[in-house]
């Protein structure tokens, strides 16, 4: 996503990422980054929580307006009270890559090195 953002910015459109993994997004070199500590699938907030969703969107737009230099980061002040862990934030069916690496653990270093095979063994 960070690489896509870079291309859009380079094409003359002002961009900002709302990222839940800001360390990773930042490492790619994105122009503007608003970091938020929300669970996956709930980037803006819970279903039906209009006020929270609006507050996040407003904060992103404010950050965009205020950022003056490439690589700017803002940590948004929205706390998520529950602890992490498995459900309900993870999919009911584990992602294909997770299941695959349980059966092919010797390929795990290739994922970590982002040395990705073209086809599955």
């Amino acid at each position: 996503m960070g690489l896509v953002q870079r291309q859009i910015e380079a094409a003359g459109i002002s961009t900002i990422a709302l990222s839940m993994i800001p360390d990773l997004t930042w490492s790619v070199g994105v122009p503007r980054l608003a970091a938020i500590e929300h669970p996956f699938g709930l980037t803006l907030g819970r279903p039906g929580d209009r006020d929270a969703q609006t507050a996040v969107l407003r904060a992103v737009l404010r950050a965009l307006k205020e950022m003056q230099s490439p690589g700017s980061v803002t940590n948004l002040p929205f706390a998520w009270p529950e602890s992490g862990g498995k459900s309900p934030y993870h999919p009911a069916e584990p992602p294909p890559i997770g299941k695959y690496l349980v059966r092919h653990p010797w390929l795990y270093p290739r994922l970590l090195a982002r040395n990705i095979p073209e086809v599955a063994e």
């Binding site: 002002s14 709302l18 839940m20 360390d23 070199g29 934030y89 690496l101």
Partner: protein, 168 residues
């Protein structure tokens, strides 16, 4: 001072190790920059989501392809019109729980909230078209060389000034 966001709080063990490993792989490079050229109140704004959202009337993202070859991810994109709601879409990303977005699309693609900011004149216009593709594309060549340029052409055609990228 706002505390720094913890990138790892909601990640499982595998993803945590993967993210930590990947962070070291990208060399620092020049960061592109397009300054905001006009007040937000005059800007046209588009949203881009990696949730793999498609209209129910549109072609589904290829989940089976990723299940057959977990190193692969569908690199195509779909256009989501500004009036779309959770009733009109399906969410195909295999790495998240899609049920929140399927209850309320604003959880990942806040078109409703953005329209309210337009009505309040906090932004100029909501773009007619918004975009979604699948997250977790491990080999991003097609995404970067075909999909992204096509999205950029769409943004430029609609004279979009601001794109908000929303990963999931």
């Amino acid at each position: 001072m706002t505390p720094q966001v913890d990138s790892y709080r909601f990640l499982d063990t595998l993803s945590r190790r993967m993210v930590k490993s990947w962070i070291g792989l990208d060399k620092p490079q020049d960061i592109p920059w397009t300054p905001l050229r006009k007040p937000l109140e005059d800007c046209t704004v588009a949203l881009i989501s990696t949730a793999g959202i498609a209209l129910k009337t549109d072609r589904p993202f290829d989940q089976e392809g990723e299940r057959r070859n977990p190193w692969w991810g569908d690199p195509s994109y779909r256009v989501i019109p500004r009036e779309a709601t959770e009733r009109d879409v399906r969410v195909y990303h295999l790495h998240i729980n899609p049920s929140f977005a399927e209850q309320d699309l604003n959880c990942v693609l806040p078109l409703g909230r953005l329209s309210e900011l337009e009505a309040d004149s906090e932004i100029g216009h909501v773009a007619d078209s918004h975009y979604s593709f699948m997250g977790f594309i491990l080999r991003p060549q097609v995404l970067l060389e075909e999909t992204t340029p096509a999205i950029i052409r769409g943004l430029q055609t609609e004279q979009v000034d601001v794109a908000i990228l929303v990963p999931v």
